[in-house]
């Protein structure tokens, strides 16, 4: 399965009235996870988060595609 690049956030059991709400729910949770951390701690958290999510995705071809996009223009 190729890398999904369309909006894809949802939470089971939730009904959304506005299209932006699930993405905003995720973004708020992401920023909140970093609250009160130093820059170094935040970098460590981000690394752990990527490893967890990468394992969840599993398909290395999808991960390679994501890594290539992330690398562009950096």
């Amino acid at each position: 399965m190729p890398l999904k690049l369309e909006a894809n956030f949802f939470e089971p059991g939730q009904r959304y009235w506005r299209a932006y709400t699930p993405g905003d729910d995720f973004y708020e949770a992401l920023i909140e996870t970093h609250r009160g951390l130093s820059d170094e701690q935040s970098a460590l958290l981000n690394a752990k988060l990527i490893l967890l999510l990468a394992n969840h995705i599993g398909d290395i071809s999808v991960l390679r595609e994501a890594m290539a996009i992330a690398r562009q223009d950096v």
Partner: protein, 556 residues
């Protein structure tokens, strides 16, 4: 500074209490003649309620302030008979564009659907809105609008409120059965009652300028993250009436407000933004900070708080004045039913419940926008800029770009006034939803659903053929008109037709009603006076409607 607008001065008149010294008792007193207090007073006075509206000033808002008025607000203003004036003068728009550095990364359309009467948003200087509302207020015989009347003391009681009011002639006392506090973020009424607000202050400053210029910016909202002409900050541009542009520059917390307001400093910022030598003139400049907070409850006995007096949000999303006008739309029909003895006093508690929920939604969305626009930590800024960088090419990232989630009505799905669905429906018109508009033909004339609903309870009965309704059913429909409160049954039908017994028929000529309400032959919607759905069924049953009507008017 230049002037495209002449501020009216409204005459102070000696109040009757000062003439004869007698303290009068009024059914409703509203404090604060901004957009929200005016909307409340007009809504009540249009229905014949005697209202005194007190304001400590004698003119309209200085500067453009509120700027953006959303579709739902325009629909409410239509029922207050000022919507057409506002739309005619304002700049209608649906498209918002977001830029990151040199490039557009994202745009949204507030109203991608066809067949709605009102646009997603208009930009209009607040002084015009207030002027139109004051003009309307003065047409209403039961509305007593008193300028330069300032409340200085207040005594709440079980059955009303006593107020002491200061005027150029001195003090006087008046009593009110009900008091609506619409006196803004620094509410005197709230302070006199020692009531607290809880929430968050944001450490940022924004410069706002009303700029008169000939320019060809389209009728759109433009938002820049980190533009070349204002590095590291954000900028927001709105085109308003009379070629007055409203520009908001983010300054950061360290900025000195007095220094930033100096005309030469503001002029240089605008010059950098325009990038050319065209002429412009400053009309109004201000620096603001903001908070997101609300009162725990909006009802305190006989005192009802509306608008900024009850809740405040950051400006990203235009959720301030818009939510205040929706407060009054929610409150006024309930207060009228209580004044008329058609509903229990506890119906007013649902004003607080429903609008607290809406305020929380507004605070949540405007806080999220603020956090995206002004990241609070380096990692937050990194995520923000990564999102913007990905947004140019990838749809998922565009959906995360948050330059303001603009004012839309809350879905009051948790309200005690709703009757839960007992059948399956597609679409968004669930119990608690504000009605979606639809084009209709009524008595042979083109019109809109939202122009023919509101003000009283209605049941919309959809039938494929209006002339096929039998006499017994028609009689049942007519009897509901005698219920407490009265319920008008209206027939909605895809065909033009005449229903027996004088029931009104709305012809769903474009089929949008059937589509948006998932209506089939026999589908009934119960509609509140503020155009929210209270219940819906797949067949007509007068007893079931009576039960739902009782619930929707506070008989739980």
């Amino acid at each position: 500074m230049a002037g495209t607008y002449t501020y009216p001065r409204y005459a102070y008149l000696t109040p009757p209490e000062r003439h004869d010294g007698a303290a009068r008792r009024h059914p409703v007193v509203v404090v604060g003649a901004g957009p929200v207090g005016l909307a409340a007073a007009i809504d009540l006075a249009q229905a014949g309620v005697a209202v005194v509206l007190l304001d400590d000033d004698d003119t309209v808002s200085f500067g453009s302030r509120g700027v953006c008025y959303a579709k739902r607000t325009l629909e409410i203003l239509d029922r207050l008979a000022v919507g057409a004036d506002c739309v005619a003068k304002g700049v209608s728009w649906n498209v918002g564009r977001t830029f990151f550095r040199e490039h557009e990364v994202y745009h949204f359309n507030l109203l991608p659907q066809p067949d709605h009467q009102r646009p997603g948003m208009i930009n209009l200087q607040q002084y015009y809105l207030e002027e139109y509302l004051i003009k309307r207020a003065r047409q209403l015989p039961t509305l007593d609008l008193r300028f330069r009347n300032k409340v200085v003391a207040l005594q709440p009681g079980d059955d009303g409120v006593r107020l002491q009011v200061s005027t150029p002639d001195g003090l006087y006392t008046l009593a009110a059965d009900w008091l609506i506090a619409a006196d803004g973020a620094r509410s005197t009424i709230r302070q006199l009652m020692n009531l607290e607000m809880e929430g968050q202050v944001f450490l940022d400053r924004f410069l706002i300028a009303d700029v008169v210029m000939k320019a060809d910016f389209p009728r759109e909202r433009w938002f820049w993250f980190d533009p070349p002409f204002h590095r590291g900050q954000s900028v927001l541009l709105h085109r308003q009436a009379d070629n007055v542009y409203r520009i908001d520059f983010q300054l950061g917390w360290q900025a000195d407000p007095e220094e930033e307001k100096k005309p030469e400093k503001v002029t240089a910022r605008i010059r950098a933004m325009l990038g050319d030598e065209r002429e412009f003139a400053l009309e109004w400049v201000s620096v603001y900070t903001f908070q997101c907070r609300r009162m725990k409850q909006f009802r305190h006995g006989r005192v009802l708080f509306v608008g900024d007096a009850a809740h405040q949000v950051s400006p990203f999303g235009a959720r301030g004045a818009n939510s205040g006008i929706q407060d009054t739309d929610n409150l006024c029909w309930k207060l009228r039913l209580v004044l008329d003895g058609q509903a229990p006093d506890s119906l007013l508690d649902t004003y607080s419940d429903e609008r607290v929920l809406a305020a929380d939604e507004n605070i949540l969305n405007s806080t999220r926008s603020t956090d995206f626009i002004t990241p609070k930590s380096p990692v937050s800024l990194t995520f923000r800029n990564a999102t913007l960088a990905l947004a140019r090419e990838h749809a998922f990232a565009r959906a995360l770009v948050n330059s303001g989630r603009l004012s839309v009505p809350a879905f009051l799905t948790e309200s005690r006034l709703n009757t839960a669905d007992s059948a399956d429906f597609a679409g968004a018109m669930v119990p608690g939803a504000a009605l979606d508009d639809a084009p209709l033909r009524v008595n042979g004339a083109d019109g809109w659903l939202l122009d023919h609903t509101g003000g009283h309870f209605q049941a919309l009965l959809y039938v494929l053929d209006a002339s096929a309704l039998d006499a017994a059913q028609t009689a049942e429909c007519k009897q509901l008109g005698e219920a407490t409160p009265p319920l008008e049954v209206v027939v909605v039908s895809p065909k033009n037709g005449i229903a027996a017994g004088g029931l009104r028929v709305f012809a769903d000529c474009a089929g949008r009603y059937a589509e948006r309400y998932d209506a089939r032959d026999g589908t009934v919607y119960l509609i509140r006076p503020d155009q929210h759905v209270a219940g819906r069924w797949r067949s007509f049953d007068a007893n079931r409607l009576r039960t739902a009507l009782a619930r929707a008017s506070g008989h739980f």
